[in-house]
C-alpha cells in the first residue's frame, strides 16, 4: 500500500523551512516532491525598489547567512562588469582568501550536520569545535563572526594586515594537522561508511541532465568548477582543479560517501589556495573608489547588463544585473543560488531508499534548507505523527541494525 509522508516545514537544529512529500511503499521511497517558498523574503524586489546598489551588497549578504561572501561577491562582480569598475590586484587576492575561508567554515559546518544526521553527535561536536578556529580568524580580519561586510564595488573594505598573517598561517597549520584526523574519522569509520556507501547515488548522466552544481556534481565524477572553467578575481593565478572522488579512492560511485570525500578534499585545497595567496599577495590599494557617494553616482550613471558566476561552497552561484542610467536602484537583479538547482537531485537520490536514509541523503547536497520536524504518516486512515526525534531515532536504529 502506498502512503504519503509530508516532512516540514518546521524542524529543529540548523535547518530552513521547506516541505517535502514522500510517497512510500512500506519503507521504500517511490516518489519525492519538493514544495518551497516558505523562506521567500522578496530580496530581489527590495534590491530593485528600496535599496541603492551599495545597500544591496549588505542585503545580498543576508540571502544566506552561511555562504555570506558568495552572494555579495557575485553581485559585486556583476555590477562591476556592467558599470566598468576595476578593482586593485590586492583586493582581488583578499577576495580569494575570504572566499576560501568561507569554504572551509561552510564545509566543516556541513560535515558536522552530516554527522548529526547519522546519529553521530560526538563527531558533530568535534567538527564544530575544529570549525571555531576559522571563525576566530574571520572575526579577526572582518570584525564579525558570520556576516563579513567586507566586499565593496571596486575592492574590499578592510585590508589583511601584516600582523594578521602569522595568525592565519597558524590556523592553516592547525587545519593541516586536523585534516588527517577528520579524514580518518569520516572516511575510515565503519558506521559512517555503512550509512553512506551506495546510499543516495546520483549517476554521472543524471547529474549532467539535472545540471547539478558544486560538490554534488563533482562527487558524480563531472569535472565542473567555476574556479577552473571561468576563473574570476585572482583565481587565474592559482590553477584550481575540480576535485572528484577518484583522486582519493580511484573510483567514482556518486554516493553520499563520495560527497564527503569531495568536501574534505576541498577543505585541503582551500588551505593550499590561502597559503599561496598569502605568499603572493601584492602590496597596494584595496579600494578603487573610497568615496561611497561618488561610487553610487558612478553606478547610477552607468548603463549595461552583466551575468556573474561564482563558485560558492555549495556550487555555482549566478547573479544577473541590469543597470539603467538615471535609475536609483538596480534596474534588474536575478539570483540563482546553487541549492535551487541541487534540490532537484533529491529525487533520483532518494528513490528506492528507506525512510531512515532521508536525513543523510537530504543533507548530502548541503542544502541551504532542509527538513524533518513533524512527519505525519497516514496509514489505514490513522494518523501517526513522527517528530524529528523519531526520524533521528529511526536513523540511529538503522545504524545499530547494520552494525550487528
Amino acid at each position: 500500500m502506498k502512503y504519503e509522508v509530508p516532512i516540514g516545514p518546521i524542524h529543529p537544529a540548523l535547518k530552513e523551512p521547506i516541505m517535502l512529500k514522500f510517497t512510500l511503499e512500506g519503507e521504500r521511497i517511490v516518489d519525492v516532491d519538493v514544495i518551497a517558498s516558505q523562506n521567500h523574503r522578496g530580496i530581489e524586489w527590495i534590491g530593485m525598489n528600496r535599496n541603492n546598489p551599495v545597500q544591496s551588497i549588505y542585503l545580498s549578504e543576508r540571502i544566506c547567512g552561511i555562504c555570506n561572501f558568495c552572494h555579495p561577491a557575485c553581485l559585486v562582480m556583476a555590477v562591476e562588469e556592467a558599470a566598468g569598475i576595476e578593482s586593485p590586484e590586492r583586493a582581488e587576492y583578499i577576495r580569494v582568501i575570504q572566499g576560501e575561508l568561507e569554504r572551509i567554515h561552510s564545509h566543516l559546518l556541513w560535515a558536522g550536520v552530516a554527522a548529526h544526521e547519522l546519529g553521530f553527535d560526538s563527531l558533530l561536536h568535534y567538527v564544530w569545535m575544529v570549525r571555531e578556529k576559522v571563525m576566530d580568524i574571520l572575526e579577526l580580519i572582518n570584525g564579525n563572526r558570520v556576516t563579513k561586510a567586507i566586499i565593496m564595488y571596486g575592492g574590499v573594505r578592510r585590508d589583511i594586515k601584516d600582523e594578521h598573517i602569522p595568525k592565519i598561517k597558524r590556523m592553516l597549520d592547525y587545519y593541516k594537522q586536523a585534516f588527517g584526523k577528520l579524514a580518518k574519522l569520516f572516511l575510515e569509520d565503519k558506521t559512517i561508511k555503512m550509512r553512506t556507501r551506495e546510499i543516495g547515488i546520483l549517476p554521472y548522466e543524471e547529474a549532467i541532465k539535472l545540471a547539478t552544481v558544486g560538490p554534488t556534481v563533482r562527487a558524480s565524477g563531472v569535472k565542473k568548477d567555476v574556479r577552473q572553467d571561468m576563473p574570476y578575481f585572482a583565481y587565474p593565478d592559482f590553477e584550481v582543479k575540480a576535485i572528484t572522488p577518484d583522486m582519493l579512492t580511484g573510483e567514482t560511485i556518486g554516493d553520499t560517501y563520495d560527497r564527503i570525500i569531495v568536501r574534505l578534499l576541498e577543505v585541503k585545497q582551500s588551505i593550499e589556495i590561502i597559503e599561496q595567496a598569502l605568499d603572493e599577495m601584492p602590496p597596494g590599494d584595496i579600494l578603487a573608489e573610497p568615496k561611497i557617494i561618488k561610487l553610487i553616482n558612478q553606478i547610477k550613471k552607468a548603463e549595461g547588463e552583466a551575468v556573474a558566476r561564482y563558485e560558492a561552497p555549495r556550487g555555482e552561484d549566478i547573479h544577473y544585473v541590469k543597470l539603467k542610467s538615471g535609475f536609483e536602484y538596480l534596474y534588474a537583479w536575478k539570483v540563482r543560488a546553487p541549492t535551487y538547482i541541487n534540490i532537484l537531485s533529491w529525487r533520483p537520490m532518494l528513490l528506492d531508499m528507506q525512510i531512515a536514509d532521508i536525513p543523510i541523503v537530504a543533507a548530502s547536497i548541503d542544502p541551504c534548507l532542509s527538513c524533518t520536524n513533524r512527519v505525519v504518516i497516514v496509514r489505514n486512515n490513522k494518523e501517526e505523527i513522527l517528530t524529528a526525534d523519531d526520524l533521528h531515532r529511526l536513523s540511529v536504529k538503522k545504524t545499530r541494525r547494520l552494525l550487528r
Binding site: 529543529p12 537544529a13 523551512p17 530580496i43 543576508r62 517528530t387
Partner: protein, 143 residues
C-alpha cells in the same frame, strides 16, 4: 548565582521562520564545545510540546505566519519566546518586503518575548538571552 539559576534546565525549540541561517548557525555554535550551553542542561528539542523556550529566528514570511502561531499554541505554559536576530524584532534588512507578516510580536500579540538583537547576534548574546528567559520562568514558578 549560576548554579542556583540552572537548577532547572531549559529546553529550547528552535523555529526558523524564514531567516538567512546566520542566527541558526550561531545558535548551534552556542550549543557546541566552544560555548557549550549543553553543560547547563540547555538543549534543543525536537518538538514544541517538550519546550520551555521557543527560539524564533527570521522575519516571519507569509507562509510561516500560521505555523509560528500554531507552534506557540502547542507549547505548554509557562513559556517564553526568545527572538534571535534583528529581523524577528523589526524585520531587519527585509522590512517593507511584500512577503513578510512579521515581526513576531505582531503575529503573537501579548506573548512574553526576550529579544537578542544583532545580525547575527554572537553566541554569548544568545546565551545571555536564554539566561534572561530563565530568570523570568523562575519568577513565574515562585508565584
Amino acid at each position: 548565582m549560576i548554579p542556583k539559576a540552572f537548577k532547572r534546565a531549559l529546553w529550547v525549540f528552535h523555529v526558523n521562520s524564514g531567516s538567512c541561517n546566520g542566527c541558526d548557525i550561531e545558535i548551534i555554535a552556542a550549543l557546541t564545545p566552544r560555548y557549550d550551553v549543553e553543560r547547563f542542561g540547555i538543549r534543543l528539542v525536537g518538538s514544541p510540546r517538550h519546550a520551555d523556550v521557543i527560539a524564533f529566528t527570521g522575519p516571519v514570511t507569509s507562509d510561516m505566519a500560521d505555523k509560528v502561531k500554531r507552534i506557540y499554541e502547542q507549547t505548554p505554559d509557562p513559556k517564553v519566546i526568545l527572538v534571535v536576530g534583528s529581523c524577528g524584532i523589526s524585520g531587519g534588512v527585509f522590512h517593507e518586503s511584500y512577503h513578510l507578516e512579521g515581526p513576531i510580536e505582531k503575529i503573537i500579540p501579548g506573548a512574553k518575548c526576550f529579544y537578542v538583537p544583532g545580525c547575527p547576534p554572537r553566541p554569548e548574546a544568545i546565551i545571555q538571552g536564554v539566561i534572561k528567559a530563565w530568570e523570568f520562568l523562575e519568577g513565574v514558578e515562585k508565584k
